[in-house]
Amino acid sequence: MTTTDTKPTRPWAASPRDRALTASSVLLSLAITVGIVLGTPMKGKLAYFFVFLITWLIVDSLYVVRKFGAKGVRDALAAKITLYGAVVVSMAVFSILWATVDEGVAGLNLAFVTENMRNASFFDPIGKGGVLHAIIGTLVLIIISIIIAVPMGILTALYLTEIKGKAAGLIQFLVQAMSGVPSVVAGLFIYAAIILNTPLRASAFLGGLALSILMIPTVTRTAQEVLNLVPRDLREAGLAMGATQWKTVALVVLPAARSGLITATILGVARIAGETAPLLFTVGVFDGYNFNPFVGGTGTLPTVIWAGLGAGTPEAAQRAWSAILILLIVVLIMFVLARTVGSRQFKKK
């Protein structure tokens, strides 16, 4: 008996002929693109890019129509156009990232992150004065917001996941509504409620209050999601061992969801770290270090950027770009932290 080995075939894989066709369609589109861009008054890299996208769409469709007919062309067009949508969206993100790094790096130096603006102004040449006071101010604001918003957010999430009271639907709805509150309204509210009514004046504490309003919904929704991921068995085991509900929550559920709750906090911080509008009403202005969060204005990264742009000189704009680079780095660190901590919980499951 002889056995014949059948080689597995892959009829869907691209044959050399297909590859040659694809390459030729790309080359043809490139050639047409260059022709169109040079022949018309369009200019710039973006023009090349977009004209190429459109030409390739048409040229490749002509290839496909020969092989698969009208139905195949519609399918191929849909695949390409959705890809184009994703490409345009990514381009915007890369443009933003690139612009920040490109423009911001020029103003970065040691003084910029180790000094304050007490003895310097926005109009001084780069290298004199820095934004350390604003970095500290932003950190103080973040800490205040965490102290206020995280307990409130987690308790609300506990109500929605553990107690599931009668009002759960309403609360859920209100939390969603709260996440849509415009940031400027949060600032106006603190101004109207506290600065106009009490002797308290603009300070880091009031800024933290305004930011908490924006942070609570983010923390609540993320915390709710991770608490829902804690297996029911754990809760039931706790109760079956004779623990009261509050002990089960405090000793079993919350520790089980710990890394997820940290993620919730970090996402909340990322949400508020760059908020500017509420701070314009609530934190005031100060060029030096202010470690008292209750009295006196504080410099923060967003308000320093705001002021730098308002000043209107090239040096001020450069400072604004460099400050936003620092702010972006802070946000990116938060973002990466949230992802790594968050994925750790999912791996454990």
Binding site: L46, K71, G72, R74, D75, A78, A79, T82, L83, Y84, G85, A86, V89, V93, S95, I96, A99, M152, L155, T156, L158, Y159, L160, E162, I163, A167, L170, I171, F173, Q176, A177, G180, V181, P182, S183, V184, V185, L188, F189, A192, L196, I213, I216, T244, Q245, W246, A270, A273, G274, T276, A277, L280, P302, W306, A317, I324, L327, L328, V331, F335
Partner: protein, 328 residues
């Protein structure tokens, strides 16, 4: 053999109750109390803005919404004459938010479709990160980018639009000034609301019943056929809801719009012209030099903006919740 068996002790029957212990009652009371913080905060915001803006609303009446002058002048006796009208700002807010939605929705839906149906696993993970990252960018960064990077390009696009489509009243301009126009503000807002519309759409598309998808494939549909016949009809509501969430975001955006829009108190529908309005940015713009009367008017504006976004968000969430049953 008379060893007395020990008398059987029958323990008292334990009382079975569902009443929580005292500690649990305290726990439940505290958690329930704090969970109403959302309600309290929303109510307080409305109450204080109404309190401080009440005099303006009383003096201006319905004209606060329909007039478009905004000035405080002194008459001969030194009395303040205040004219506050939000019409131009409200119209401007609508115009730029609609531009943003019109640009962002197609891009977001395409991206969501690509992510759900076309992207290979690796590309998908990177792209999801990119979209999430977009949502985490501070709004002032969008403002800066819009002002320095996007504006020069967008002015050129606006000139092209005007040149070829200028005969449509929407794209006409009284003078050839294209910077800081509603069009550019709308572009920046579009980039800002893409992440939320994309993530809601993706969530909805991913919930398309698998049996229907597979049935369509079994009938010989192409991928596009499946999307057109099954996925889009199923997800349409969710996309509408997501777009409205984006609209609500766009209504309330302050800082980014402030940098790229020339705020003028005149209702302007010529979107390429350098004149526009935005309630939130106007509040920040006027706040610096506002006197006591004007602060009241700004509070009233804040109230209008708050209620507007609240209504849009309520409707949007209701629509999305009906489509997506998961805990969004």
């Amino acid at each position: 053999m008379s060893i007395d068996a020990p008398a059987k002790v029958i323990p008292q029957a334990r009382k079975i109750t569902t009443k929580p212990r005292v500690s649990d009652q305290i726990f439940r009371a505290i958690v329930t109390g704090f969970s109403f913080s959302a309600l309290v905060i929303l109510a307080l915001i409305a109450a204080f803005l109404l309190l401080k803006g009440f005099s303006t609303l009383r003096d201006q009446g319905f004209g606060f919404i329909t007039n478009f002058e905004w000035n405080v002048t002194l008459d001969e006796s030194g009395k303040e004459i205040a004219d506050f009208g939000l019409q131009a700002m409200l119209v401007g807010t609508m115009v730029i938010s609609l531009i943003a939605v019109v640009i962002a929705v197609p891009l977001s839906v395409l991206t969501a479709l690509f992510l759900t149906f076309y992207a290979p696993e690796r590309v998908k993970r990177i792209l999801v990160t990119i979209v999430d990252l977009m949502a985490a960018f501070p709004s002032i960064l969008y403002g800066l980018w819009g002002l320095f990077i996007l504006m020069p390009m967008a002015v050129y696009w606006a000139e092209l639009l005007h040149k070829w489509l200028g005969w449509i009243p929407l794209f006409d301009v009284p003078q050839p000034v294209f910077t800081r126009s509603p069009f550019i503000a709308g572009l920046v807002l579009a980039v800002m609301i893409i992440p939320i519309i994309t993530s809601v759409s993706r969530e909805v598309f991913a919930q398309t019943p698998l049996d229907r998808v597979q049935a369509a494939y079994a009938l010989g549909a192409t991928k596009w056929g499946v999307i057109k016949a099954v996925v889009l009809p199923f997800g349409a509501n969710g996309v509408v809801g997501g777009s409205m969430l984006g609209l609500g975001r766009a209504f309330g955006e302050t800082v980014a719009v402030y940098f790229v829009l020339n705020i003028v108190f005149r209702s302007n529908f010529e979107i390429l012209f350098s004149q526009g309005g935005n309630v939130a940015s106007m509040i920040v713009l006027k706040f610096g030099e506002a006197g006591e009367t004007e602060i009241g008017a700004l509070m009233a504006s804040g109230l209008v903006l708050f209620l507007l976004t609240l209504v849009v968000n309520f409707i949007a969430n209701a629509v999305v919740n009906r489509t997506v049953k998961s805990g969004r």
